[in-house]
C-alpha cells in the first residue's frame, strides 16, 4: 500500500479526535542544528471544511485494534480498510509537511496492536526518530495508550509536548455499556500517573535545569457527547473535577457522529448534537476563565443547557439581584459575569477607567457587545438612554442570530418569549436547535 493510501485511511480514522491544538508551550529553535519551534498561543495552519482548526498532522499509527469499543470507528468488529504506518514513514511525512509550513507538528494516536506495551513502544520509536534523528523542535501531541506500562508512558511524556488519555464516556455505566475493554480505573490510572509526573517534573526542572521536560504543554482529555444518556450537568461536573484534581489543560467534547449501526447507540443518520457540544465548550470556558463553578451553571434541577441562551446569559437572567452593575466601580470578577463582556474587554475596562470615567460610547470602543451588555450595566449611575426593558426584548438580544432564525422558522415570534418559558420549551426545541452549527 502506498503512503497516500495509508494517509487517507489513518487520517480518516483519527478525525473524530477533537484536540488539534498546538498550544501550551513556548520553545525557541535557538541555535540547535535541527528544525522547529513551538508557540505558546498555538498556531492554526488551516481550517477543515467543518470549520475545525488544523494545526497538527493528526493520524493514527495504525487503525488495526484489538479492542471493540462500540462508539469507535476502529473497533475490532467494524469492517473498514486497515493500514499501518512504520515509525520512519510517519517521521518523514511530519518533517516534509512541517518544512512546507503545512503543520505545527504531529498528533499521534493508535489502535492497539499485539499489546498496549508494544503499541506504546512503536509510538516511542516514532517520536525518537523525530526528536533525536531530525532534532525536531515542533509540537508533538501523543495519546497515552491505556494499559501500557507506566515506564513507557514516562518515556513518551519526555518526547511529547502534550499527552492525553481519552476518558471517552462520562460515566462508568456508559463505559460498561459501550467500551467493555476499558474501565474508569484503566483510564484514570494513567491520567493520575501523568498528572503526578508533570508535577514532579516541575520541581526537578527548578532543581536541575537540564532535567528532561515531561509533557511541558500538559495533559488533555476528550469526552464523546450524545452517545449515552448522561446529562450536561454530569459532564460539566466531571470536567470541573478533571481541571481541579488532575490539573488538565483542556477537556475536549466531541459530538457523537454515528459510525455504523449499533443497537446500543443512536442510529446512523442521527445528526451530531452540535449545539450541545457548543454549549459545553461555552460552559467549559466559564469554568476556566470566568471563575464560574459547575453548580452555578447547572444543578440537580436543571441538568441540561438551555438551548436558546448561552450559559452565561442564562445565568445572568436568573440572577437579577446582581444587576445592573456600575462599569466604573465593579470589580473585575463581577465585570466578567456581565453578558457581552469577555476577558479582554473586562481587562480593558479596568485599565481605561483609571484614566477617565467611561460612558456607553467608550464601552463600544473597548469591545463590549452592547446589544447584550446594555441590560446589565450602568455607566456613571445611569441606564443607557432610551433603553426599553421587556422580557421578550432582552431574550431576543441575548439569543444568537442563528437561534432567532431557527425559532422564527418554527413559527415563534419574538413576543412570545419569556425567561421562564424557555425551560418549558427545552424538550420541543431541542430537536430543532440541536443541529445548529457552531457558528454562533
Amino acid at each position: 500500500m502506498d503512503i497516500s493510501e495509508k494517509l487517507k485511511i489513518l487520517a480518516d480514522s483519527a478525525k473524530y479526535d477533537a484536540a488539534c491544538t498546538s498550544s501550551g508551550v513556548d520553545r525557541a529553535g535557538g541555535h540547535s542544528d535541527g528544525i522547529g519551534s513551538a508557540a505558546k498561543c498555538g498556531i492554526c495552519h488551516s481550517f477543515a471544511s467543518d470549520g475545525r482548526c488544523i494545526s497538527l498532522l493528526k493520524i493514527l499509527m495504525t487503525n488495526f485494534c484489538m479492542f471493540d469499543c462500540k462508539y469507535c470507528v476502529n473497533r475490532h468488529s467494524n469492517d473498514v480498510p486497515r493500514a499501518r504506518f512504520t515509525p520512519s514513514e510517519i517521521a518523514d511525512l511530519t518533517i516534509n509537511f512541517y518544512r512546507r509550513n503545512y503543520i505545527e507538528g504531529l498528533f499521534l494516536s493508535s489502535g492497539i496492536i499485539q499489546s498496549p506495551d508494544y503499541t506504546c513502544e512503536q509510538m516511542i520509536e516514532t517520536l525518537t526518530i523525530l526528536r533525536v534523528q531530525y532534532k525536531f523542535g515542533g509540537y508533538i501531541h501523543a495519546k497515552a495508550i491505556p494499559g501500557a506500562d507506566p515506564e513507557l508512558i514516562n518515556r513518551l511524556g519526555v518526547l511529547a509536548d502534550r499527552i492525553s488519555v481519552n476518558i471517552e464516556l462520562p460515566s462508568q455505566k456508559s463505559l460498561n455499556r459501550l467500551a467493555p475493554d476499558k474501565s474508569k480505573t484503566s483510564i484514570l490510572l494513567p491520567m493520575g500517573h501523568i498528572t503526578q509526573k508533570i508535577k514532579q517534573n516541575s520541581y526537578e526542572i527548578v532543581k536541575y535545569k537540564s532535567a528532561p521536560k515531561f509533557a511541558p504543554a500538559g495533559q488533555s482529555t476528550q469526552m464523546i457527547i450524545g452517545a449515552t444518556p448522561d446529562s450536561d450537568f454530569q459532564i460539566l461536573r466531571l470536567s470541573e473535577a478533571m481541571y481541579q484534581k488532575y490539573s488538565l489543560k483542556r477537556v475536549f467534547y466531541s459530538a457523537y457522529v454515528p459510525v455504523g449501526d449499533q443497537k446500543l447507540l443512536p442510529p446512523a443518520g442521527t445528526k451530531p448534537p452540535l449545539l450541545r457540544e457548543h454549549r459545553l465548550y461555552q460552559a467549559d470556558w466559564l469554568l476556566r476563565f470566568y471563575g464560574f463553578k459547575a453548580e452555578e451553571i447547572l444543578d440537580e434541577q436543571h441538568q441540561d443547557f438551555n438551548p436558546l441562551l448561552d450559559p452565561k446569559c442564562n445565568w445572568a437572567i436568573h440572577h437579577p439581584e446582581i444587576f445592573p452593575v456600575e462599569i466604573n466601580k465593579a470589580p473585575y470578577e463581577t465585570l466578567l459575569r456581565v453578558p457581552g463582556i469577555g476577558v479582554k474587554s473586562a481587562q480593558r475596562i479596568i485599565v481605561a477607567r483609571r484614566q477617565s470615567k467611561l460612558d456607553y460610547n467608550d464601552l463600544r470602543k473597548l469591545g463590549v457587545v452592547m446589544k447584550r451588555a446594555v441590560y446589565f450595566i450602568l455607566c456613571l449611575g445611569k441606564r443607557a438612554e432610551g433603553l426599553v426593558v421587556t422580557e421578550a426584548g432582552i431574550m431576543r438580544q441575548l439569543m444568537s442570530a442563528s437561534v432567532v432564525k431557527e425559532l422564527e422558522q418554527n413559527g415563534y415570534s419574538g413576543e412570545q418569549l419569556s425567561f421562564f418559558d424557555t425551560e418549558k420549551a427545552v424538550p420541543t426545541l431541542e430537536d430543532t436547535v440541536k443541529c445548529l452549527t457552531g457558528e454562533m
Binding site: G29, S37, C44, D50, G51, F97, R100, R348, T437
Partner: protein, 274 residues
C-alpha cells in the same frame, strides 16, 4: 498651536521620514491636515510642504518616545507604521502629540479615539501576521523554500523572527506580492528586500507529491456530518486561499460553479428574450 488645516506634509514613505514629519509638526506647532507619501494624489487648495528625511531629526524623535512616553509606545508606533490603515501617518502624528503631553499613561487611555484607532489598526496588522504564521505555504525548490503571500498590512518584518527561528537551518524566501517586498534568509542571514518582483517557478515532481499528500489529508480530516463552510470562512478568510496549497482547488471549483450559474442565467435570459 495652529490647526494646520491648510498644510499637507509630503514625505518619502520611510519610518525616518515620518519621524521627521513629527519633528516638523512640533517645531512649527501645527497639525497638518494630511500626510502623504510623495506627491499628494488629489488637487488641493492647501499648501504642500515636502519634508526632507534627516537622520538627526528622526533620531531625536525616536529617542524621545521611550524617554517621554514608553518603550511600548515606540513599539506600537513602529507596528502602526506597517498597518494598512488609510490615515496611519496622521494618526501616528496625533498619537505622538497626545503622548508627549500625557506621558506613559497614554497607553492606558483606551477610550481615547486616537489610541483606539491605533490599537485597532495594530491588532488588524499583528493578527494578520499571526494568521500568516500558519497560512504561509512553502514549496521546496531543490532544498530552497519559497512562499508567496498577499497581505493587506506590511507583515514581513513581523514574520521575520518567527520563521528565521523555526527554519533556522533552511534557506528560504517569503515574497509579499502586495508590497513587492521579501524576507530572504540565506546561510543563516536574514534580509528584507524591497521593490522586487518574484514569481514562483513550476514545482518539481517531488514537490507535487507532497502537495497531493497534503491536499488528500486536508480533504480527509473534515467530518462531513459537520460541514460548515461559513465557520471556515470566518476563521480563514477567502483572500488567503489563493496562496494556500489545499485551498486553491476549492477556489477554482467555486469559480467554475459560479461561472456555470452565470452561464445558465445568461442562457435563460437569452431564451426568454427570444
Amino acid at each position: 498651536m495652529s490647526d494646520g488645516r491648510n498644510v499637507i506634509y509630503c514625505y518619502d514613505g520611510t519610518f525616518d521620514g515620518l519621524m521627521c514629519c513629527v519633528f516638523e509638526s512640533f517645531e512649527q506647532r501645527e497639525i497638518p491636515s494630511e500626510i502623504s507619501i510623495g506627491e499628494p494624489c488629489q488637487l488641493s487648495l492647501s499648501d504642500i510642504r515636502f519634508i526632507e528625511t534627516i537622520a538627526e531629526k528622526s533620531e531625536r524623535v525616536t529617542a524621545a518616545i521611550p524617554k517621554k512616553i514608553s518603550w511600548d509606545a515606540l513599539d506600537l508606533v513602529r507596528k502602526m507604521f506597517l498597518s494598512c490603515a488609510e490615515d496611519k501617518d496622521l494618526t501616528i502624528l496625533i498619537f505622538l502629540h497626545k503622548g508627549f503631553r500625557a506621558g506613559a499613561k497614554i497607553m492606558q487611555m483606551l477610550a481615547d479615539d486616537t489610541v483606539n484607532s491605533i490599537n485597532k489598526a495594530v491588532f488588524h496588522c499583528t493578527h494578520e501576521a499571526h494568521l500568516l504564521t500558519g497560512f504561509i505555504r512553502f514549496s521546496d525548490y531543490n532544498g530552497y523554500l519559497a512562499a508567496v503571500i498577499e497581505p493587506k498590512n506590511k507583515v514581513i518584518p513581523l514574520l521575520a523572527s518567527h520563521f528565521t527561528d523555526r527554519f533556522r537551518n533552511e534557506d528560504f524566501l517569503i515574497y509579499d506580492k502586495t508590497h513587492r517586498m521579501a524576507l530572504i534568509y540565506y546561510s543563516h542571514k536574514a534580509e528584507i528586500a524591497e521593490n522586487i518582483d518574484f514569481e514562483l517557478p513550476p514545482a518539481s515532481a517531488e514537490e507535487e507529491r507532497y502537495r497531493e499528500l497534503w491536499k488528500s489529508f486536508y480533504k480527509t480530516i473534515g467530518i462531513k456530518e459537520r460541514f460548515n463552510p461559513r465557520c471556515r470562512m470566518n476563521l480563514m478568510p477567502k483572500r488567503f486561499w489563493a496562496n494556500m496549497t489545499e485551498m486553491r482547488d476549492e477556489l477554482n471549483i467555486r469559480d467554475e460553479s459560479t461561472n456555470r450559474i452565470a452561464e445558465k442565467c445568461l442562457t435563460t435570459i437569452k431564451d426568454n428574450s427570444v
